[in-house]
């Protein structure tokens, strides 16, 4: 699809905008509608658009496979680490009070970190699910399984 010039031009315009908008939604999620899930899904959608236009191998060179696998787990670990930090510093699990001095700043810091962890996990899991589906087509053709295409145009 990278020979089709309309698609290439529109993609070069849209993909950085969508990624930037995803980051905006992530970090501005406290003042406007947004937050972790929306940002993760937007970032993954930008990468999926890139893969649709330029191919899966190029997409995997931009964000390598190991990075996707490890970021998925690191997001949830960040969430649990923030929770355990509350326990270590003297409060309950996922208590943001002991993290910083003033109560409001502590809550805001906790919320930013937690939403970032959720956003990273959601983005990498959605990217991984898409690439598993996308690779299956090439693999099943290589293994010789043909598809039963019943093309009755009734």
């Amino acid at each position: 699809m990278k020979d089709n010039s309309i698609l290439v031009i529109v993609a070069r315009f849209l993909i950085p905008l969508v990624m930037l908008f995803g980051l905006y939604v992530q970090f501005h999620g406290e003042y406007s509608p947004g937050g972790g899930f929306q940002a993760g899904v937007l970032f993954a959608a930008a990468w999926i658009l890139f893969v649709l236009i330029y191919g899966l191998e190029t997409g995997l060179r931009v964000i390598p496979l190991r990075v996707i696998y490890s970021l998925g787990c690191l997001g949830v670990l960040l969430y649990c680490a923030v929770g355990l930090m509350g326990v270590i510093l003297g409060g309950r699990f996922l208590d943001y009070q002991p993290l910083l001095a003033t109560p409001q700043a502590a809550q805001q810091a906790g919320i930013i970190l937690v939403e970032f962890g959720v956003g990273v996990t959601v983005a990498s899991v959605v990217m991984m699910i898409f690439l598993q589906f996308a690779r299956r087509r090439a693999q099943s053709q290589a293994a010789g399984l043909e598809l039963d295409q019943e093309q009755d145009r009734s």
């Binding site: 003042y31 406007s32 509608p33 937050g35 899930f37 959601v122 699910i129 598993q132 589906f133 299956r136 099943s140 399984l145 039963d148």
Partner: protein
Amino acid sequence: MSALSLFNYWAVIGLMMLGYYCVIVRGNMVKKIIGLGIFQTSVFILFISAGKVLGGSTPILREGVSVYSNPLPHVLILTAIVVGVATTAVGLALAVRIQEAFGSINDDDLDQLGQEDEP
């Protein structure tokens, strides 16, 4: 109850029954997953419309707004949407594997293959 309430709830029930029909009657697995999606989103409409306050506004604190809609159903449905897409992804992966192993994702064909296995 006013006509607006009745129309609201009955439309949601109509969508729910459409999704339910699609899940239990259609044999194709991908169609069933789409029907499950219709069912889930109709339940989301029910919850969000329960949280709305007429004359209120989006639950984000700002100048000039005094009445806010209830933020609690929004939180519940946010989690439910993400869990719904997780379920859809796993269901579609299962459909792909069944297609590769048995050659068909239709109920009737799979029943046929199951009956041939019995002695």
